[in-house]
């Protein structure tokens, strides 16, 4: 029996599932707490309390894969796209502009620029791209903190230089992608200069350097193998009194074998010198060919000899209902200890590896195409949820440490509902999720509910003509800290917010190469705050930001117009994820 097509579909689905992670905003319980234009904290309301490294430096947006998000959206259409160029200019409304001449100390709300170019050579399966990004909107939070820093320390030479090159994020990227019959590979070289945020104080910390990452995936018959390497030569705090250098290396390798159309086994080994223990080896067996049941068993061991494992069982009842149970015993690694200065205070962050056991039960109703409804109910238990403690020593030194929850195990229950309607000229996505804590449990960080609706109109003739409105709301965000030695709980809370986005795109007919060039211009305005909430600068929910305007132009070079029908595609969930 030839299982090749099934194996390829299985491997393709694994790969697509990994790539789709960036768009997992609407159809998942993941919520983004955006500090500013560059830095985001990812909050998973379905599995709270597991945030590895969530309490350390916030660096970038884990869900934004620039420039791959742009490239994938361009390549979502026909396969004959040979090249693309796009440019985007954005600015937050409310910049002082001419008011700066009379009042130079007004908070500055700078702009964002992104540019991208890519060329594809279909015959040899190669794509190359280059991208530039400068993000500096919502940066007045940093201005305020730096002004306070200068007045407290007298260090006038340190700070964010808005008149130079120091945006919140300033980076150049060049990369490649290879897609052959058996091999897929991609890699990039990146120069970056960014501002992150410290734990608790959310004060700025600069990191800059060079990063290169490469990944390759080989699939031959039933066997597949993948390797991944990432090296990051980083300078941290380069404008603070105590700069440090750190070379971050991450390596991963996996090999797998499909023993049946539905059965798969693979072994994976990882190395990361930013955490302790640095290495993990794990084996995973998954089988979905057990009648209505599917199972996954995973077992591994860390470099320190600590075992960890996971057992997941799922049963499919009827056409669309799935019941799942998940038992996980994991070792959460300890991040590298750091220290930084907040104003004139020395802050030390420490932690220890900790073991936790979690149980997750869920019932899901999937979108079958007949009824475009997805629903999910779950309950979750974790015996050692992650918390953060603050100790202010008599010598003025502040110590931040990860600790076990003072409220004991965390038990939560919640649900998620999404409904999609997509027609020829109009469509809508509606989504809502929420959860509660059971008993005396308390989350370290919580967003109790999140809901929204996105509606669009588009032309029957071309996907490039469309208008879109998104209304998004989230409940109050709470962040708790255990204050030592009194063991009292300190709470920070930001209010409920309701925001509106408006987006439009129009096609443009090229004056030359009309059958090959597809041009479009788009503009986006948002988030327009409807609740009147003000900014909360020192909070994980970040700024309740004012609306910004972004204008984008895009050009696609296609092989031939008649051979490249432009199909109105169902929008990728979360591709325009509100925040």
């Amino acid at each position: 029996m030839n299982h090749k097509p099934q194996h390829r579909r299985l491997l393709a689905s694994i790969l697509l599932a990994a790539l789709a992670d960036a768009n997992a905003a609407i159809d998942s319980a993941v919520y983004r707490l955006r500090l500013d234009a560059s830095n985001t904290i990812v909050y998973d309301c379905e599995r709270p309390g597991r945030g590895t490294r969530a309490s350390w430096l916030v660096m970038g947006d884990p869900l934004a894969h620039f420039p791959h998000g742009h490239l994938d959206s361009a390549n979502a259409g026909p396969d004959t796209v040979l090249g693309m160029m796009s440019g985007r200019l954005g600015s937050e409304i409310g910049d002082p502009l001419l008011n700066l001449i009379d009042a130079p100390d007004l908070p500055n709300r700078d702009h964002a620029v992104t540019a991208l170019g890519a060329v594809r050579f279909p015959r040899i399966g190669l794509s190359v791209y280059g991208a530039y990004r400068y993000l500096d909107v919502y940066s007045d939070r940093f201005d305020t903190l730096w002004q306070r820093y200068r007045s407290a320390t007298g260090h006038q030479q340190w700070g964010m230089n808005h008149d130079g090159a120091d945006g919140l994020r300033d980076e150049q990227i060049a990369g490649y992608r290879v897609n052959l019959t058996h091999i897929r590979a991609e890699g990039k070289l990146q120069r970056y200069s960014c501002w992150g945020a410290t734990p608790y104080f959310f004060s700025p910390v600069r990191y800059a350097g060079y990063r290169t990452s490469h990944a390759a995936h080989l699939a031959v018959s039933r066997f597949h193998m993948a390797v991944q390497a990432r090296i990051d030569a980083q300078d941290r705090y380069t404008t603070a009194p105590k700069p440090s250098e750190f070379s971050h290396t991450e390596l991963a390798a996996s090999a797998g074998w499909s023993y049946s159309p539905n059965g798969h086994i693979h072994v994976r080994s990882t190395y990361d010198n930013a955490v302790r223990p640095t290495s993990v080896v794990a084996a995973c067996l998954s089988d979905s060919g057990l009648g209505p049941f599917s199972a996954q068993v995973q077992a591994g061991v860390t470099g320190d000899g600590d075992p960890q494992g996971r057992l997941a069982l799922a049963a499919r009842l009827g056409l669309a209902v799935t019941v799942s149970a998940d038992l996980e015993c994991a070792v959460r690694p300890r991040p590298e200890p750091i220290q930084f200065d907040y104003l004139d205070t020395l802050v030390r962050c420490t932690g220890e590896p900790s073991r936790s056991t979690a149980i997750h039960l869920s019932v899901a109703i999937e979108d079958t195409g007949v009824l475009p409804l997805t629903a999910r109910l779950w309950c979750d238990h974790i015996d050692r949820p992650v918390w953060q403690s603050i100790r202010r020593g008599p010598d003025g030194v502040v110590t931040i440490a990860e600790c076990a929850s003072p409220a004991g195990p965390l038990n939560t229950a919640g649900g998620r509902l999404s409904y999609h309607v997509h027609g020829a000229i109009a469509g809508a996505d509606m989504y809502a999720s929420g959860h509660i804590t059971l008993g005396d449990s308390k989350e370290w960080r919580s967003v109790p509910w999140h809901a929204g609706v996105r509606a669009y109109l588009r032309s029957k003739r071309t996907e490039r003509l469309r208008a879109e409105v998104t209304l998004d709301a989230a409940g109050p965000t709470t962040q708790r800290y255990l204050s030592l030695p009194t063991r009292s709980i300190e709470e920070r809370r930001s209010p409920t917010r309701v925001s509106l986005w408006v987006r439009g795109q129009v096609p443009v007919v090229s004056p030359f190469l009309r059958r090959r060039l597809r041009l479009s211009l788009s503009a986006e305005i948002g988030p327009i705050g409807l609740t009147g909430a003000r900014r909360a600068r020192e909070h994980p929910n970040g700024n309740l930001m004012g609306p910004r305007v972004e204008v984008q132009g895009q050009a696609l070079l296609c092989r031939a117009a008649r051979a490249t029908p432009e199909r109105p595609a169902r929008p990728a969930p979360g591709s325009r994820a509100p925040f």
Partner: protein, 188 residues
């Protein structure tokens, strides 16, 4: 439900292809224009008494593939100064992205453009050198613009009298001005 409401790919391809051929035969072709504007800042909105100024610019208008609708990109530059007191040299550059609806009278000689869209105002204060960080060395802010332009068309030549209102959403004071001028365009 999704499958019932969606167009099959073949049908979509056909309609898209016909849209492209409609564009090829559209009377609205690429236009290149040069224009002059007299900008009159509205003092009660800007908080400062900025003097009226003159601006020159160029515009490119692309057909959108839809009847009567085109997309216009334009840029102009002006020197701005206070009306009643000395001020530093300020270069004001405005970049506009407009959707323009064009209506023609039966004679096909006179017409009217009605447009609206986004404006990005950039200011450069003092002497500025051009570096790769040009965008980082300026201040910019978005706003909205509405345009009304009666025009006369003789073959491919057009002469218009644009009147526009620009509302820049800066803070704490807005920057708003009313413009009037003349434009001349060549239609390819």
């Amino acid at each position: 439900m999704t499958a019932l409401l969606s167009l099959p790919p073949q049908a979509t391809a056909a309609t898209d292809s016909s849209a492209d051929s409609a564009c090829l035969h559209s009377p609205y072709r690429l236009q290149i224009a040069a224009f002059y504007r007299h900008k009159m800042p509205l003092q009660e909105l800007t908080g400062t008494s900025w003097g009226a100024t003159d601006a020159c610019g160029i515009a490119l208008r692309f057909p959108s593939g839809l009847p009567h609708l085109s997309v216009q990109l334009q840029a102009d530059i002006a020197a701005l100064s206070r009306a009643e007191e000395p001020s530093p040299d300020i270069a004001l550059v405005e970049l506009d992205l407009l959707a323009v609806w064009t209506g023609s009278l039966p004679s096909d000689v006179f017409g009217l453009d009605v447009g609206g869209g986004l404006t990005s105002a950039m200011i450069f204060v003092g002497s500025t050198t051009l570096t790769r960080h040009l965008f980082a060395m300026s201040e910019s802010e978005f706003g909205f613009q509405a345009v009304l332009q009666p025009f006369v068309r003789v073959r491919r030549w057009r002469v218009g009298v644009p009147v526009s209102f620009v509302w820049i959403l800066s803070a704490p004071h807005r920057f708003a001005h009313v413009d009037a001028g003349v434009s001349t365009a060549w239609e390819f």
